[in-house]
């Protein structure tokens, strides 16, 4: 039972971790809580359903499901990245030197816009994922893990590994340099605007994958899932130490575990409360998070 809950928590947590990466990367560079990041994840879930629906109508899903799924993921990642890119250019870039409240409000505005945009174009009712995964599962140590769960955890691990490797590349170094000091980065010839765009594109791409994973895991999607998931992922990012990429991964998985254990052993009605309580406790005890560095405010 406990082990089963741990597996469920790990599945959920790896999704949170993937979304949290987007938050933490943007925060690391712009010190902006990108409120609309959760909506990108919601767009990912919707786009996944839309495109898989198209492929199903074309008969591709029945003929070759893995191919249809991969195509869906690729197209969804492209569109979500495009949305992330556009969002940064339209709503955040003009505010780069504004007081810190301005981009935050702008982000809330984008979030409200995207939610209602999806509601108006796709309808307010639940959307159903067009493919039903079988109940087939693997057994080990008395635990049943569906193939979908294995796939979600494996995909998340793979993406995290890829992001880790990316940070060692030339682009990744430029990104880290930009996060440390934008002016210095510009002085050594880094295209700061380009790097910021790239951060949004990567974050949105990750959120898109998370969106598809959740849509297939729960089978149902609504236009307001982005808000709650966004807050939870942000909690995960803060939990691990915002700005820190390993921290976001750790925080996401911890949060998933806390949530599924809390739902199993305390009460499932208050499922969403655990994340917030956790957030409050962490912020009050250790605002810099588990792996975050404490920064002293300068005059």
């Amino acid at each position: 039972m406990l082990l089963q809950q741990l597996i469920n928590g790990l599945t959920l947590g790896s999704v949170y971790a993937i979304i949290a990466l987007g938050y933490t990367m943007v925060y690391g560079i712009l010190e902006l809580i990108n409120f609309a990041h959760g909506e990108i994840y919601m767009l990912g879930a919707y786009l996944g359903i839309i495109f898989l629906g198209i492929f199903t109508a074309m008969g591709l899903t029945a003929a070759n499901f893995p191919l249809a799924l991969i195509l869906t993921v690729l197209i969804t990642v492209f569109f979500c990245s495009a949305y992330g890119f556009t969002m940064e250019k339209v709503a955040y870039k003009p505010l780069r030197n504004a007081p810190r409240l301005s981009p935050l409000i702008s982000a809330i505005g984008v979030s409200i816009f995207l939610q209602n945009y999806v509601m108006l174009t796709q309808g307010a009712t639940d959307k159903v994922f067009p493919y039903r995964y079988g109940e087939a599962h693997v057994h080990f140590l008395n635990v049943e893990m569906t193939y979908l769960q294995v796939m979600i955890i494996a995909t998340s691990a793979l993406l995290m590994l890829a992001l880790h490797l990316f940070r060692k590349t030339r682009m990744g170094k430029a990104m880290r340099a930009t996060a440390q000091d934008k002016t210095m980065a510009a002085l050594v010839g880094i295209n700061v605007d380009g790097i910021i765009s790239l951060t949004f594109v990567i974050g949105a791409g990750l959120a898109a994958v998370a969106g598809i994973m959740v849509a297939s895991y729960y089978g149902i999607v609504n236009y307001f899932i982005g808000y709650v998931a966004g807050i939870k992922a942000f909690t995960a990012a803060v939990l691990g130490g915002i700005g820190s990429i390993p921290g976001a991964m750790l925080g996401g998985i911890l949060l998933g575990l806390i949530e599924s254990l809390g739902a199993a052993y305390i009460s499932s009605e208050y499922k969403d409360v655990y994340a917030f309580v956790m957030l409050l406790i962490i912020l009050l005890i250790r605002p810099s998070g588990i792996l975050g560095r404490h920064t002293e405010e300068k005059v």
């Binding site: 556009t86 504004a98 945009y117 999806v118």
Partner: protein
């Protein structure tokens, strides 16, 4: 999926940096690029025909916008912009007659209104009054002191639920409940602020947001106490000398009276030692504390004072609706109140009040496009931040003095 959009995609690839860049560069292909990009983003959600329509609208609309930005029109535009708010309001306010009579005139208009309007409009006015109180309260925290609060609806909820529970469970009337509701809200504001004020900026915002969500989920799930999502009904309206104030006309006067008390109180507090300390904290916290201001204490004052008014707004809401449920106190409600304060101009009392009235009246006026209301609010927030971050009525003096430094 293909067809009309494929060609622009090719163009995009060749000039990826041209999209959404600065407005100054005015290549003739820009509108086409932007339109193609927007249409591409829109495509999966509505299909090919709506996306094509959007493409055409933007291609046609953007040059018109750019024409308005042409240098020859810049002088005219700034002149027009300057005179626009100036003409009806400022000329009047700055004239001798206006200075002495603007407020009394407004007061008389507000007094006479119930005799001229239908119930529907009275309802909108009463709601405006309640939101004015909320905006004034949040303005103390965000506008005066510069502490971002994203869970203000929680204190509104506490005020409303305090009265709802006292009234339905203990039979307590409106008047004894009024200080209790306001006090409960202020106390919970203090209780939240006490630990949360150790945090700065965005983190504080997130903690207040978390508090608001926790409260709403608890109200929603604690069936035995709050009746869960069904809410509490059968709340009695206020009585005065045995007369029920439940009718909209009387209720309007009650709300108006409280607003008319709140505004001068706000004015006095803003100009007081406490208000100036808040301003100092907002402008520069470190400088304020080095001038001997106990920043934590004054921030606590701000939270308590701001949430106090949310409590009053809450009890007025509960007594008007005679029903409360968690649905009225969502995160969107907090965002709406914050939008009112920002729209009016952070730190400006009349601005906050005007913002509240605008954001209550405007959606009612836009009833036909009701489903687009939130969409417009979202776009409006982004545009407001980009083009007029200081709000409609700004504190120009402070902004100017800052620029000189």
């Amino acid at each position: 999926m293909k067809g009309g959009v494929q060609e622009p995609v090719h163009e995009l690839r060749s000039r990826p940096r041209g999209i959404g860049g600065s407005i100054k560069q005015s290549a003739s292909s820009r509108p086409v690029l932007i339109a193609a990009w927007a249409a591409l983003l829109f495509l999966p959600f509505k299909g090919i025909m709506p996306a094509l329509t959007l493409f055409i609208i933007i291609v046609a609309g953007l040059p018109a916008l750019q024409l308005a930005r042409k240098p020859w029109s810049a002088g005219f535009r700034t002149a027009a912009l300057k005179s626009l708010p100036r003409f009806p309001l400022r000329v009047f306010a700055e004239s001798r007659f206006g200075r002495s009579s603007a407020l009394p005139l407004l007061f008389i208009i507000l007094l006479v209104l119930p005799f001229t309007l239908r119930d529907y409009y009275m309802d909108v006015l009463v709601m405006s009054g309640i939101y004015v109180l909320l905006a004034l309260g949040l303005n103390v925290i965000v506008g005066f002191t510069g502490l971002l609060n994203l869970g203000f609806a929680a204190f509104y909820a506490i005020g409303a639920y305090t009265y709802a529970l006292l009234n339905t469970k203990l039979g307590l009337g409106f008047w004894p409940s009024l200080p209790l509701s306001a006090g409960a809200a202020a106390l919970s504001g203090l209780l939240l602020a006490f630990p949360a004020l150790r945090l700065k900026g965005d983190y504080l915002a997130i903690v207040t947001l978390g508090f608001g969500e926790i409260l709403r989920i608890v109200l929603n799930n604690w069936d035995s106490f709050t009746n869960g999502p069904n809410g509490i009904s059968g709340i009695t309206p206020p009585f005065l000398f045995g007369v029920s104030l439940g009718s909209l006309k009387y209720y309007y006067y009650l709300v108006l009276l409280i607003v008319l008390v709140a505004v001068p109180v706000m004015k006095r507090v803003e100009a007081s030692r406490i208000g100036r300390a808040w301003l100092a904290i907002k402008e520069n916290e470190i400088a304020a504390s080095s001038m001997g201001i106990n920043t934590t204490r004054y921030k606590l004052y701000a939270f308590a004072f701001g949430t106090f008014w949310a409590g009053i707004a809450g009890i007025l809401f509960a007594a008007k609706m005679r029903f409360v449920s968690p649905e009225s106190f969502t995160f969107m409600e907090s965002v709406l109140i914050l939008s009112m304060v920002i729209l009016g101009g952070l730190g400006n009392i009349y601005g906050a009040a005007a913002g509240a009235v605008i954001l209550v009246v405007l959606p009612e006026a836009l009833r036909e496009v009701q489903s687009y209301r939130m969409l417009i609010l979202g776009i409006g927030l982004v545009l407001l931040m980009i083009f007029r971050p200081q709000g409609l009525l700004s504190r120009n003096k402070i902004l100017k003095s800052r620029k000189q430094n």
